[in-house]
Structure formats: C-alpha cells, structure tokens
Symmetry: C2
Subunit: 404 residues, 2 copies
Amino acid sequence: MSLTPIENGSVTSPRGFRAGAVHAGIRSDTPPDVLDVTILIADGEGTTGAAVFTKNRVTAAPVIVSREHIERAAPRAVVVNSGNANAAVGPQGIADARATAEMAANRLGLSADEVLVCSTGVIGVPMPMSVMRGGIEAVEPRADGGHDFAQAIITTDTRIKECAVTVQIGGRTVTVAGAAKGSGMIHPDMATMLAFLTTDAAVEQDCLRRVIGRAVDRSFNMISVDGDTSTNDTVIMIANGAAGNPAVSGGEDEAAIEEAITYVSLELARAIVRDGEGATTLIEINVSGARSDDDARLAARVISTSPLVKTAVFGNDPNWGRVMMALGRSGADVEESRVTLHFNDICVLRDGQAQPFPREEAVERMKRPDVRFDVALGLGDGAATAWTCDFSYEYVRINGEYTT
Amino acid sequence: MSLTPIENGSVTSPRGFRAGAVHAGIRSDTPPDVLDVTILIADGEGTTGAAVFTKNRVTAAPVIVSREHIERAAPRAVVVNSGNANAAVGPQGIADARATAEMAANRLGLSADEVLVCSTGVIGVPMPMSVMRGGIEAVEPRADGGHDFAQAIITTDTRIKECAVTVQIGGRTVTVAGAAKGSGMIHPDMATMLAFLTTDAAVEQDCLRRVIGRAVDRSFNMISVDGDTSTNDTVIMIANGAAGNPAVSGGEDEAAIEEAITYVSLELARAIVRDGEGATTLIEINVSGARSDDDARLAARVISTSPLVKTAVFGNDPNWGRVMMALGRSGADVEESRVTLHFNDICVLRDGQAQPFPREEAVERMKRPDVRFDVALGLGDGAATAWTCDFSYEYVRINGEYTT
C-alpha cells in the first residue's frame, strides 16, 4: 500500500476525467483573466460518488440542490462558480441552482440529477443567470483541464491547491486526485471551503461513502483558520472505474483507497490552513492518551481554535499555559496530574507540573514554519490531530479593513 | 424596586465590610507601588455566601481550596494575591493555598474554613510563601479600603472595575457592591476573571445561592474577550446582614436583591469587556425569538466569540453575513427564512433575505463606541444578550509580542 505522489497532478490526472473553465463575469468587477465558471466531468457510465456538506444551519442554495441530486443519482459532473455564493437570496436561489444544473446537464448530455452545483463568492446578491448560461456554454472540458479547474474555484486564496497520488489496487495502478479552495472566512462574501476529489478506481457506492466520511473527519474536519464554517462548504468525490480494477468493496482494497484518499485530503486540508489569511505558521496539535478518539478530537479542535494559542505562535512564544487552558475548557476528560506537554519536542509540562526547559531554544523552534504541540493526557488510547495557523496583524487587516 | 447607583462606590460601601492591601512583592519584578496582596473581611457573625468557580477542567489550587471551604462554612473573608496564579505546581499548590487561608484566618481571628483564597498571575511558578506571609501580616483592613482592594486584584487591566448601588428591602436601604478584574486572557500568566460582591443585606443562604447563579449566568457568563476561560475564574459574594433587614428568603425581596446584584454584575462584566485587550468597541448581541432561552444563549455566545464578527466591528464593517454564519454554526435551532437582523437599528436581513440598506449610515453607526446587533429568530420566546469587544491590531500585539 505505498503511495506515489504525482508531480503537478490535478483532478484530471485520473483517467476519464475532463475539466474546463472560462471567465464569464459573474462579478462585474473582476478582471477578464479571472476564471469564474468551471465544469468537471467523469466520462463513462457507472460512476459512484459521495459528498459531505456544511453542517451550518444556514445553508446556501447550491448545497440544498446538490444534496437532493446526489441522493437521486450517481454524480457525473460538477459545475462550480466563484464570485457569487447564491446564498441569502430566498427561493430564487434554489431555482437558480436547479437551472444551473440543468444548463450544465444539457451542455454535457446528462440528466440534471447527475450534475452537482457549488458556488462561492458574495452572499445576498442574486446569481446573474444569463452570465452563468454564457459561461456554461463556453466551457470546453479537456483531459488537461485540471489546473484551470483548480484556478477557477479559488476566490481570495493566494495559491491553487491540488494533489494527486497513485496506488496499486486489484493489480491496477489507480490515481486519486483533488483540488480545493478556501483560505479562511476571509470575506464573508468570499467564504467557503470547497474540495473536489477524483479517482479512476472503481469503488462501490457504500464503500466510497464510508471512506469519504472517515477521510473528511481526519482532514477537512480537523482544520481551522478562524473557527467559522460557511454556508457553502462542500466536499465531493467521484470515482469512475476507468482504471479497470475490480470494484473496491472492503478489505485490503478499501484500506488502500482510503490511504490514498486520506493522503490527498490531508494535503489539501493543510494547504488551506497554510494559505489562511495572514498565516505565517502551520500549527499541528497532536492529542494522545485521551479516553476516546472523540475526546481527543474535541481537545485538539478546541486548542486549535483558541485565539490565545494562535497569537502566541505568531509571537514565537512557547506559552504552554494557553494550551492547558484551552485543553481544560474543551470538554474532553482531563486529569491535570496526568497531562504531559511537548512543544516542538521540548517537554514543558510533565504529569501536570511545569518543567524547567531551555527557553531560548524553545523560542527558536517556535519560529519554524511548522510548529507542533504534543498533548498526552495519560487516560487511554484516544488520539487525534488538528491543524491551524497563527493569528497575525495581517489577519486583522484582511478581515477588518475589508468593507462591504 | 428602583436602584440608586453610588458614585465612586466600592466593596466596602456596604456597612460592615473592611478591606486593605499592600505591596508584598509576590513577583520580584513589580514596582513597589503595585498592590499585590489584599484582604476583604465582613465584620460580625451570621454572614452568608455563595461562589461560582471556573468550569475549566484544569483548576488552580486556590479554586480547589476555596470550593472546599465554602462547602464547610459561611465565608467571612477573602484573601487575594496578584502576580502568581498558584496553578500547575502540583500538590504543593494545594498546601500553599491552605496555608494562605490559615495565615489570613490567624491574622483576622477566624477559622481557616471561613477564608476564601483567590490568586491571579503567572502559572507554573511556586507561590513565594514567605512573601505571602509578610503581605498578610502587613494588611490593615479599613472601612474605606475598597478602592485599594479593587486596585490590588488587577493584573494587566488598564482600569479598576467597581460598582455599588442601593435598593430598598424590608424597609431598609441596603447596598450591593462589587469589584472585578480581568481584561481577557491577555497573558496566560496573567489570566483570570475575578469578581467580588458584597452586600449589607441579610440574605438566606439558599436564596443567595439561587440569585448568584442567575446573576452570573446573565452577566459574567455572557461576556467573552477571546473565548478562553481560565483556571482561576471565580465570583464570590458575601452578605453580612448589617443593614438590619429581615433576611431575604424569596418573593419580592428576592426579586429586589436580584435586581441589584444583577445590575452590579452586568456593570462589572461590561467593564471587563470594555477593558478587553486592544478593545475599541463594546459589542452587544441580542438574540430573541429563539425556541428557548438556552438556544438564545448559545446563539448569542457563538456570535460573540467569532473572530470574523469581531474583526468586522474593528473595521466598522456592517458585515451581516458573518453574523449569519456564526448563527448557523451555533447549534441553536435556526430557520433561515425566519431570521431578521438589525445592525444598530438598521434592518439588513428580513425573513432570510438580504435587504437594501443605507451603507454609509450603517458604516457610520459601526464607528460608535457601543454597537448592537439584534438577531430575531422568529421561532419562539427565547431571548439572551451577550457582550464582547472587537479584535484589533493591538490584540495581536499584546498577545503575540508577550514572551514568556
């Protein structure tokens, strides 16, 4: 089960996927070189798909429509626009998202239910449907269109986010790839984490759903830039079976495809955090020895959303007191006298007691582009890892100086 | 039930309370004019008391000891030090907190159980007990010592926080007063919210406990500077009956004392938020029309801890999309099509649909020192209010540039 990363891979690295993107002008103020409407299509019948949508109770129209579609049919294509989130516009938003799927379905010779829709951009503004129609008609999906897809889905991201790997399954080399967008809830208008995963492996529907659920829980659900989740967050995976392997349904093959999907998901998730607004440092928080994995997840996530922990990292301050406080309020079971903390491999607290440590060296290690806190609870076998970025002046500038 | 604020009131405004403070030198690096050990004492027998302690699972030694003491006896005195939190120092911390209570009890002619202990300051450093002893022996509680008490409990606060009011109960004029410290978890080393409430009313033990529970839930539990809670957070109330009223046990008298205690608690809580590190604006979030008060509390608190909401206020940005997203992820029951939002009395969203609004005027109103968001959910009668402050460059500077 060894993975081989593909240099410069994209969502069209797996066989039988095509993508294309155009500048349609969804926002009237974007320059003509900004791609804003894109389509990804899996060729051939017999695809399987799985999706995970935002748990936010305030949900954008495309999420509602895509959730309906994937319940009715295996997905064959995704149409994505940036520039407008199609959110908070009332019933018209639902009608527009349905119409978008239909336009794309007509263009591609599919049924509307086989098309999923994602939108990211300003909220509270009706989708310019004639512009959308023009965009969809102009898109020409190509086998080398993956990078254009990755480019068209970003908004305030400073970098595109792509990853692809190969893995052996059922005697075949299969490819798993992905693209994502999201650099924190920078502009409420520009929010949203979107991720699209493709594979040419054949994977049975139920198996794919299980694997995606677990992979998302370990990756996209364990990252935080500022603790807010958007109305449009979506992860979509399509498997088209073009690699010719016997369809994965469990056992070793499931473990192998899961390893590949988790790898790609983690790479994309960490790339989102690294691109968090104003981020200078990627922070990894490993919690072990918890009563349960759920407890470990809770602890890791609360520590990763603490503004005090995030500003301490920005200041290169090995400030373990803040980690202890966030741990204490996390809701996870904690016995102070059993907690041991390492900051970048330096022990700062053992069994609940502060330890003398080499302060200058500890500060030096906090200056690395990647910092790691290991939190050992000493209560059980539960473990989890979360990632976040530091809080900087730039974060406040980007989020404070933007004016609607 | 009308309240009369007392100008320049303090915890010794109620009859039969004395306080004193000294510079003991708990931290070797503090200037000699910094008061760091203080005692508040209620004269006379028959006091009643109530306390609310941090829910953080990582709890400082003085919290553990004070919790034991108040279960055993009615509190007569409080000894507080700044400069050292007596936290994360293992079993020695417990022994030191007990010894502190005993020293103060000997000094004051009380039993140790009648003395509560609070500490705030650096964590992970053993308490300098000989310095503490010197401080306790030097304190001379006086009837006009309330302001010294308020001064001695602060750490990085830029202002002392005091409040006192009178109210008529049982034909007597009784006084309720309080002092607090806390300006956010500025230095993990300097964290902690402490509040001390005094009254010369006679209040039965059970009644006082009920009233304090409700008052704290509506005030100190509804404020957030950065979402973190400390290992030492404590609210303590002592009633000494010096006003000579028939002891309050319920009914109208309970309502009257609750109104006074809630007023003082809210004033102190808002003063803490206003003094939040780097704060330029006090933000009030009113949630109404929730399915329940608990749902309203949840929604108000999640909105008040959103970094995106807080940076938007810093940038004077009437960015209602961020409030909607925080609302949606809060866990409160929300039906988007019923939500109506007002920003400083300007309607920006009605029944889930964005409304055109006068943008310049909305931005102008965001520049006020107090801003208010009204969130109407349209689902029931639940209501709650939370307060927070904006996130500024100064917040990042204070929290990031501090180095342990």
